[in-house]
Symmetry: C2
Subunit: 65 residues, 2 copies
DNA sequence: TGGATTTATACCCGAACGGGAATAAACTAA
DNA sequence: TTAGTTTATTCCCGTTCGGGTATAAATCCA
């Protein structure tokens, strides 16, 4: 799923024609975080991830594996 | 959604007749973490949350808001 | 090909997560 | 009630996340 999360963010970002820096600013997180996120880092903090997802009308939730 | 995550864990835990201590041990996380989780703390680390969810065949994923 | 833009990697460091333990509170049963 | 179990609150403290920055690598066009 982490690959999915990373890909979701990456594709959404590109769909909005944003670069990582712009996305970081819009989401209110650091550039480093966007990079960790798009590279599938697994130890991210949920609240920060949700800050980014909310820009795209999404959030973290429980899904079946 | 955080309330949902908290409630999901809590109801699953009870469905398996586990107390927080047992769940913590089975998931390989600290008791403090289970408590933070069930009380809806938003700044949890994704990997730790997934450690717990995997016991119930679930995981964190992107969902619509 | 070369220059500009974008992305990736590496470092420092403050802030806070999470483990563990102690204590208190809440709940249940006898 | 009282004892026993479970859950909640609070502390110390090591580990690491995430911001910021600098540098390198990759990508994109003209």
């Amino acid at each position: 799923m982490n690959q999915n999360l990373a890909n979701y963010i990456k594709s959404k970002r590109k769909a909005f024609s944003l670069n990582q820096k712009d996305l970081a600013e819009k989401a209110g997180v650091g550039l480093r975080f966007i990079r960790d996120l798009e590279q599938g880092k697994k130890t991210l903090r949920m609240d920060k991830v949700n800050q980014v997802l909310s820009l795209f009308g999404a959030e973290l939730g429980v899904v079946d594996r």
